[in-house]
């Protein structure tokens, strides 16, 4: 006999995964912009890459930033 509940769980998880995959693109661009502004208070950012993956139902954020210079204490904005 099929375990209908188990099949339901698998379908549900697939549906929720698809839903989650649709959201991040716009958010990611906004996040990158905000992150750049934040990080530029502390360093001169050359490149900033960010990506969101979904793992076990959780969003996993990967950020990679390359900075030419880190600002010295005393020159930081208030």
């Amino acid at each position: 006999m099929y375990n209908i509940a188990k099949l339901g769980e698998i379908r549900l998880q697939n549906v929720l995964l698809k839903d989650k995959q649709q959201n991040p693109k716009v958010i990611l661009n906004m996040l990158k912009s905000d992150l750049r502004n934040l990080l530029e208070n502390y360093m001169e950012i050359a490149t900033l890459n960010a990506d969101i993956e979904i793992e076990n139902g959780f969003y996993k954020l990967k950020v990679e930033a390359n900075a030419r210079q880190i600002k010295t204490i005393g020159t930081l904005k208030d």
């Binding site: 375990n3 209908i4 509940a5 188990k6 339901g8 769980e9 379908r11 549900l12 998880q13 549906v15 929720l16 839903d19 959201n23 139902g57």
Partner: protein
Amino acid sequence: MARKIVVTSGKGGVGKTTVCANLGVKLANLGFRVALIDADIGLNNLDVVMGIENKVMFDMSDVIKGRCRLKQALVQDFRYPTLYILPSAQLDINANISGKDIENIVETLSPYFDYILIDCPAGVDIGFHRAVFSANEALIVVTPHISSIRDADKVLSLLSNYPLHSKKLIVNRVRGDMILSGEIISIEKIMEILGLPIMGVIPDDDEISTLSTLGAFAYGTSGSRAFSILAENVHNGSKKIYDCTYKYRGLVGVIRRNIKRRV
């Protein structure tokens, strides 16, 4: 000051209004002062479920438009003197009611009540935001069906925009026989998928739907017991969960399951 709890779900027909009404009744039964606010404007049903539809003189839109005082619009329940209902706009569907308007009402009521339960409309449009705006806790009602759980997941992502200090799950219409035979998703799995703690489990009880047709509430049935446990959990923060499967365990339980399937 009252605890302001919105009862929401996303999906329609999962039992938000029934949960709101029964939870209000059980909290009032414990001696608390409870206000039920119907925020489902235009599709108001809380008055019908509570059996007070003939007592409604004014509604929320009358209060907001200044056509009556808030006290005049509140309907006292005839069975529980500490339970009051604020009906939603009945005819004035286009009444321009904002979240701020509802918040003003909630804040005015807050010093006089222990609990304010806000019955949220289905969907995730303006009505949802209007209802959630003034709450500081949320109870998300789901049934053990994929469509309901999916909608609850979407609602959760919307609720994360609000400063709610508690979000908990109520699983409604649970059939213990179907859980035991592996035909519906288990409570534990729903909790795991949505990542929310559970506040209560309500069994699928024919008495609840039958009596709500009459504007009455069940006593001594499995549904009534489950709502009593839910009210205790809401008030005490206890984590008791009604076991929907106990009737269907053992030899007698197997016979019951088979009878239920054949009926």
